[in-house]
Structures are given as structure tokens and as C-alpha cells.
């Protein structure tokens, strides 16, 4: 562990000031689901009281959503030492079996789910756009393999706006899953470098999934993997299309709240693009915690090892919407969309941004 991480570990080990904004801690009520618990465990590992394998499970009960980091007025960063400790666990060979399995899938198939076949409907939608253009719509593994209807909708939205774009039938892994699971390991870097090599054939990369957008715009730069193509978020791309009139909008007047993905709001500082799109088609209201203060609503990757907790996380966010009297949440992250949908509650409807743009019902 670097000296910087050790310093953050020792600062956080006796501090609970970010407890209230941890989406997982809020969902489980477990003391171990705090930055303080993770730091305390690691501080005792650093002092030789525990071994890393004694606390390694706890490292994977963190979404790395950065709410704690954003909350800390002193500037300590629990995500920093959590990721570093995961890398250390990988290098020491003490990863939990359920994480090892996902890492192996990532290396073998490019996605943690180990899926290799595309849904038929998505395959057809992609087939219409395999011809090379300047703009690549990068769908990402969650949309391609877990929520193909969302991927199809992303394609339909760009078609509606008359965009000339390409979608890859065989899309390389961006590396965000490996980065999340084992940090900046050599395997992660190799996957990212390979991806960057393919993406550089295009001028512009439109990242549908905010999880991909973050690694394209941040990790690729930090790890210097040679991405030269310009990466933009899907939301900012849509926002431009709305503002230029390319994407015709008819406002329904319906009031909705927007679920800011932390990757956009906190990691990339993008909060207004999706709101611009929403306000073209509906009326965007706010939950108490929104923008950079957003509360994560769960994801698909963590469902692989803690599905019950993901349902609680999503349910918590739905309660936040109910708390301000909202009956519709609009998402801009396919992973959060799936997570909120999986909560299977009836009071609040869940729409993706694409569904809103396409005028689709909640049943899609």
C-alpha cells in the first residue's frame, strides 16, 4: 500500500462522517459497510494484527461511488485505498473466489458475466450500423449482455436524430470491470490498451454507459493507454442533438426526477446534459440528493455477489424519489436502470433517458 493510501487509511479509521451518504451502508445498516470499517480493517492489516484475507470480503462491499470522498471536507479518499487494497489482494492471490471467477470471465470473454452471445434483437439493430463512420456508439458490456433492450434503444435514439454512426458487432472490453475488480493491474492496462487501439480508428466515441465514459476520459489518460479518439458521454451527445434541433422534442409536461449516475455527476462533473434532454421532453424535478450529491442506485456487476443488497440500495433510492412526491425516475445509466427496475415496486416508474426520448412506456 502506498504511503498516501496509508495516510488516508489512518485518517479514516476512526471517522464516521461519511456514514450517512454511503448507499450500501444505508441499505444494509451494517457497521462494516462504512469507510471507517474498511480503513480500520486495513489499518490493522498494516499493523500486522490481521491478514489481508481477513478483511478482503469487505473491500468488495464498496461501490467506489465516491460519495464518501466527495463528503470529506478534509479531502481523504476511501475509494483510493479500497482500490489499492483490491489490487494488493489480487497481487497476493487472496481474492475471494466469487471475485476470482468474475476476473477470469473478464479475461476470457471481456465481460464479468462470461456471456459471449448477443441477443437477437440487438444483433439485428447493430447489423444496420456496422459500416465504418467517424462516430462510434460504444454500448458497453452491461447494455450488450444484460440489458439489450437498452442498447437497442440507444441505437434507435441516434437513428431518430439522423446521426451517422457505427456500432461494433464485436466490441472490445473497455476495462472498467477489471479496473473495478482488481484496480490498475497489468491485465487491466492490457485490456484498456487493446480497446484504445480499436477505438482510435474513429474520430468520436459516444460512450452509452457512464462506466465506460469514466474510464475512457479518466483512467485511459491516467494509465496512458494511448486513446486518441475523442470520447463523449451519451448524455452530452444527446444534449447537443437536442440543442441543435437534430433531435426533435415534444414536451409532455410530465414531472420526473433524474437519477444522476455518480460516474457522470461526480467523476466527470457532468450534471446538466441529461437535464437538458429531460427538460426537452418532460419537466425535471430534483430529489433531495442530486447532482454531485447523488446517491447511487445499484449496479449489475455487484448483483453478481450481493443481489439482495443491490435490491435494498435501489429501494432506498426509490424511497428518496417518493420523499419528494415523484412518481417517475429517469436514469442515464443502464446499470442503475436495471437495478431500479429489479426492485420491482409499483409506486414509482423507472424510465431510461432513451425511453423518454422515444416516448416509450414504462413496460419496455
Amino acid at each position: 500500500m502506498t504511503e498516501k493510501s496509508k495516510k488516508h487509511v489512518d485518517a479514516c479509521r476512526f471517522c464516521w462522517m461519511c456514514r450517512h451518504i454511503c448507499p450500501i451502508g444505508n441499505a444494509t445498516g451494517l457497521e462494516r459497510n462504512t469507510s471507517r470499517a474498511r480503513a480500520l480493517g486495513l489499518s490493522l492489516v498494516n499493523r500486522g494484527v490481521y491478514k489481508l484475507e481477513d478483511v478482503v470480503d469487505n473491500l468488495y462491499e464498496c461501490a467506489c461511488c465516491g460519495a464518501c470522498t466527495k463528503e470529506c471536507v478534509t479531502g481523504y479518499d476511501p475509494v483510493l485505498f479500497t482500490r489499492e487494497a483490491r489490487l494488493e489482494a489480487a497481487m497476493e492471490g487472496v481474492l475471494p473466489a466469487y471475485i476470482n471467477r468474475l476476473v477470469e470471465h473478464c479475461l476470457e470473454t471481456g465481460n464479468a458475466y462470461g456471456i459471449t452471445e448477443l441477443d437477437d434483437g440487438l444483433r439485428k439493430a447493430v447489423a444496420a450500423h456496422v459500416q465504418k463512420t467517424d462516430t462510434l456508439l460504444f454500448l458497453g458490456v452491461d447494455a450488450r449482455y444484460k440489458v439489450p433492450a437498452a442498447a437497442v434503444n440507444a441505437i434507435r435514439v441516434l437513428e431518430k436524430a439522423g446521426v451517422d454512426f457505427t456500432v461494433l458487432m464485436e466490441e472490445p472490453a473497455s476495462g472498467w470491470q477489471l479496473e473495478y475488480l482488481i484496480g490498475a493491474a497489468s491485465e487491466t492496462r492490457e485490456q484498456m490498451t487493446a480497446c484504445a487501439g480499436q477505438l482510435n480508428a474513429y474520430k468520436k466515441i459516444v460512450a452509452f454507459d457512464p462506466q465506460d465514459a469514466v474510464v475512457f476520459k479518466r483512467e485511459y489518460r491516467e494509465l496512458d493507454v494511448g486513446l486518441t479518439a475523442a470520447a463523449v458521454t451519451f448524455t452530452s451527445f444527446l444534449s447537443d442533438l437536442v440543442q441543435t434541433g437534430a433531435l426533435a422534442a415534444e414536451n409532455s409536461g410530465k414531472e420526473v426526477v433524474y437519477q444522476d449516475p455518480f460516474q457522470l455527476a461526480r467523476d466527470l462533473g457532468e450534471t446538466e446534459a441529461a437535464r437538458t434532454v429531460i427538460n426537452a421532453f418532460a419537466v425535471c424535478r430534483e430529489m433531495l440528493l442530486h447532482g454531485r450529491d447523488t446517491m447511487w442506485a445499484g449496479n449489475l456487476l455487484m448483483r453478481e455477489w450481493m443481489p439482495e443488497v443491490m435490491e435494498k440500495v435501489a429501494a432506498g433510492r426509490i424511497r428518496d424519489a417518493e420523499g419528494v412526491g415523484a412518481d417517475t425516475i429517469v436514469t442515464a445509466s443502464v446499470s442503475e436502470y436495471a437495478s431500479l427496475k429489479a426492485a420491482k415496486q409499483e409506486k414509482v416508474k423507472i424510465f431510461s433517458l432513451e425511453e423518454l426520448v422515444l416516448g416509450q412506456g414504462n413496460e419496455s
Binding site: C12, M17, L30, L40, D57, T74
Partner: protein, 476 residues
């Protein structure tokens, strides 16, 4: 706990049956995270690479019924039970020093009712107070309970230790903010205190359990008051060159109206923490005052405040410092903004009427500085009433003066505390104002109460005949 592998496995299955397998743990990570709270000694112990006493079982009941089952199991096997809220206590009250079962209340975090007609929120005692505040804010109200640990401590934790927030002078202490409570007694019975807190139906059951620190039962649900957001909240900073004048000014002002915030920092704390966080550079004793409510009343109150304080020679610093302080009111609690390991420190908050409080301050300062020349003493007075105030006095030992040997460090820490609190008691103070007693100050409870202690002991013996509830805390 003196157990054995077989019996432990048997008890575990019973606890799992009571709260669910997923809410019952014997994992190392769960044990260790519940073995260290905000108490300096537990932090120091861990910092030096030692393990604090750990619970044998960590359970998280979801409601009073599940809590009841846990306590029935504990009573049958005569296993110690320690209740844990947020773990932000400074007195070691939540430490499972005898092992046994640790009951983490945070699964009991449901907000049942935000009642704007009755002006209360009914919630599980494991709710983080900040979440209660958010729920109040969503309907345009506020809890007006803003301690430094707002973000991390639970409703039950504040109740169990008689907590207090920064706007206490106007809105009250936690014991003023609760209507009805649900409590699980040590034998598993679930009881409710009276539906309203002001009555003549015998002694106030609320006040028996508030401050009982898990020794008499477990609070599982509470109705906490909410308030209208003030139309206006104004701040004013003052600088006094004479502490006595500050006390006289404050006392006179509080006979006229209730401010929300009133905090007086002694010259040493003004020159250290206040200078660092708020930016007050001038020497003297800084006092921050806030007043709030209906706009018309605030206007009148401001005039009274300025007229009253001018009589006592207070320098008016305007509103800037007060507003800055309000923005930073919980910043003090973050690492890097207050004392931390490897420093040795402690806060010996006590309270007394105006005729004694200043004398207590000077006596404690003298006692700490003369007996422990290696200790620095700073103080502020942050909770005020018409009749008196609380002094939040702190000692800090740094560098080579902090013993390297953990047992020696423990000894010095204990000695400073004993001298400080005994001095407070000798001059008319109490063992503690709003942090509680825990294991840190239990030994001094009998010194304060004398034969009155038998009232607490009688309650303890009657409600908890097996002595399983939070042993060695509160002097019980």
C-alpha cells in the same frame, strides 16, 4: 464470555433464528469494527496494534420483536449484551468489554411517519440522525438537533447518552426532543413510554431510559420532534476581553429571549481552533450567537442582543464569523480539524448554574495545568440556559509527553480524567453534560450521587437481575 465451541454454535443458531442468518455474524471484520468506538483509549489501543475486547456475536435485529428475542436468549444463557448505535461515543459506552452479544441497532432505521400535524417523526432507533433531518427537510421542517456527529450517530445513540446539538438553547437537548419511545426491557418485554412527554401520570419513563446507556434496556423506536424552518437565522460574533463579562452578558440576555446558538470560546481555544476554522485573529474570548425564527421577532432580538452585550464591553465582530462558523459547524469533527491520535486528549464537559460555572472552569484549568504540566487546556461554553451553562473543557497531551507504552498511556489518561472530573464535582459540576458516562467515568458516578446511586442500582437490579445489559457502564 466463558463459552465453548459447542455451546457457542448452539447459541449462534438461536440468534440466527431470532434475527435471520444474514443479520448475525461472527466474522472478524464485524467483531473488530464493533470493538473500537470514538473513545480515545480504544483508538489508542488499536493504534498501538492491540485488539480491544470483542463481542462473540454481532447481531442486527430489525425491530423490537427481534430485539426481544435476542434479549430472551441472552438472559437464558446469561450472556452480556452491549448495544451499538453509530459508535461515535467518546466514553466507551458501546464497547463490548465483556464480550457476549453486540446488538447493532442500525437495521432498525425505518422512518415510519413524518407527521407534520403532530410535529414529530416516528423512526427506528437505529436511524442516522442526518436521515431524520433529510426526512424533515423534505416536508419543509427541521429536527434542530445538530451535533458534530449528526452524520454518523443514531437516534438511539443520542437518546442513550443524552446528546445535544448546537441550537440547544432555543430548541433543547435530545431529552427535550422526544415524545414517545419504544423500549425492549432486558427480559424481552416491549414497552412504550407515555404518549406525550408532559404529564402527571407518575415519573417520566422517557427520562429513565434516556441516558441509561443500554444498561436498562434497548430503545428501538422513538418519536422525535420536528420544527418549522426559521424564516430567518442571523449570526453575530463578539469578542470579550473578560470571561466574567461574557457570562454576565449571556445570563442577562437569556432572561430576555432564547438565542439558538451561543458559544463562548476561552482565549486559548479562540487562538487555536477558532482561529484555524473561523479565522478570528484577535486575542480574547470569541462568542458566537445565533437568533432565529419569525423575521419581525429576529429584528427585535438583534437589537436586544446588541444593547445587552454593549453594556458588557463586547466587541461586535459582525455576522461574518458567525456565518462562517455555521457553515463549518461539523467540520470540527473531521480528521485534520481536531485532535487525533497520536495526541492524547479528552473532553470533560460539565454543567452548572451561573453561580458556579465560571469557578468550575478556572478550577479545572488550574487542576489540569498544575497536576499535568504536559497537558494543554482549552475550553468553550456551548450550551446555555436561563440558569447556567456547560463548559466543554479539553486537555491535550502531545509528542513525547504521550507515553509509548499503551498501559502507561491508559494510566495517564485515566489520571487526568479523574483529577478533572473530581475538580468539577468538588465545585458543583456533574460527571458529564452530554457525552455520557460509559466505562470511562463509571467509577465517578458514586462520587457524584452518593446514596442517590441506589435509585439507579435499584432500577438496574429490578429490570436486569442477571446483570447482562452493558456491564461495567454507567457505574452499574
Amino acid at each position: 464470555m466463558q463459552g465453548n465451541e459447542f455451546l457457542d454454535a448452539m447459541i449462534l443458531t438461536e440468534l440466527e433464528d431470532a434475527v435471520g442468518v444474514e443479520n448475525c455474524s461472527r466474522k472478524e471484520i464485524d467483531k473488530v469494527t464493533h470493538s473500537i468506538d470514538y473513545y480515545w483509549l480504544s483508538r489508542m489501543w488499536a493504534d498501538r496494534g492491540h485488539r480491544m475486547p470483542e463481542a462473540d456475536f454481532v447481531v442486527a435485529p430489525g425491530d423490537a420483536q427481534e430485539t426481544s428475542k435476542v434479549l430472551q436468549i441472552a438472559n437464558y444463557y446469561k450472556i452480556p449484551v452491549t448495544t451499538w448505535g453509530g459508535g461515535g461515543g467518546t466514553q466507551g459506552g458501546a464497547l463490548p468489554v465483556c464480550g457476549g452479544i453486540l446488538v447493532d441497532t442500525k437495521r432498525m432505521n425505518r422512518i415510519y411517519d413524518v407527521n407534520t400535524e403532530g410535529m414529530y417523526i416516528e423512526c427506528g432507533a437505529g436511524s442516522i440522525y442526518k436521515h431524520i433531518e433529510w426526512a424533515a427537510n423534505e416536508v419543509g421542517k427541521a429536527t434542530m438537533h445538530y451535533p458534530s456527529s449528526l452524520n454518523c450517530s443514531t437516534v438511539g445513540g443520542f437518546l442513550a447518552h443524552r446528546g445535544i446539538g448546537v441550537v440547544s438553547t432555543k430548541y433543547g437537548k435530545i431529552d427535550d426532543m422526544v415524545l414517545q419511545m419504544e423500549v425492549v426491557l432486558p427480559n424481552g418485554d416491549i414497552i412504550y413510554t407515555s404518549p406525550a412527554p408532559k404529564h402527571a401520570a407518575g415519573p417520566d419513563l422517557n427520562q429513565i431510559f434516556i441516558g441509561s446507556e443500554g444498561t436498562l434496556g434497548i430503545i428501538t423506536k422513538a418519536q422525535m420532534r420536528i420544527f418549522d424552518q426559521p424564516e430567518e437565522r442571523r449570526f453575530r460574533g463578539f469578542l470579550f476581553q473578560d470571561m466574567s463579562a461574557a457570562f454576565q452578558a449571556a445570563r442577562e440576555l437569556l432572561q430576555k429571549f432564547k438565542v439558538s446558538v451561543m458559544r463562548l470560546y476561552d482565549p486559548a481555544e479562540t487562538a487555536s481552533l477558532i482561529k484555524k476554522i473561523v479565522g478570528v485573529e484577535k486575542p480574547g474570548a470569541f462568542m458566537n450567537v445565533a437568533y432565529e425564527g419569525c423575521r419581525e421577532l429576529v429584528e427585535v432580538e438583534e437589537k436586544i442582543l446588541l444593547d445587552t452585550f454593549a453594556k458588557y464591553g463586547a466587541e461586535d465582530l459582525g455576522s461574518e464569523y458567525g456565518e462562517k462558523w455555521w457553515e463549518e459547524k461539523i467540520t470540527f469533527f473531521y480528521p485534520g480539524h481536531m485532535m487525533d491520535i497520536p495526541q492524547m486528549f479528552g473532553t470533560m464537559d460539565t454543567i452548572a448554574p451561573y453561580d458556579k460555572i465560571e469557578e468550575i472552569y478556572w478550577a479545572m484549568k488550574e487542576a489540569i495545568e498544575s497536576n499535568f504540566p504536559q497537558a494543554r487546556f482549552i475550553a468553550h461554553f456551548s450550551h446555555w440556559y436561563e440558569w447556567g451553562a456547560m463548559v466543554y473543557d479539553r486537555f491535550i497531551v502531545e509528542g513525547e509527553d504521550v507515553p509509548k507504552d499503551p498501559v502507561e498511556a491508559l494510566r495517564l489518561h485515566q489520571q487526568i480524567w479523574t483529577v478533572g472530573v473530581r475538580t468539577a464535582l468538588a465545585h458543583g459540576g456533574v460527571v458529564n453534560d452530554h457525552h455520557g458516562v460509559g466505562i470511562k467515568l463509571g467509577r465517578l458516578m458514586k462520587e457524584q450521587y452518593g446514596p442517590a446511586m441506589q435509585v439507579f442500582e435499584g432500577l438496574k437490579k429490578s429490570l436486569d437481575p442477571n446483570g447482562i445489559m452493558n456491564p461495567f457502564k454507567l457505574g452499574l
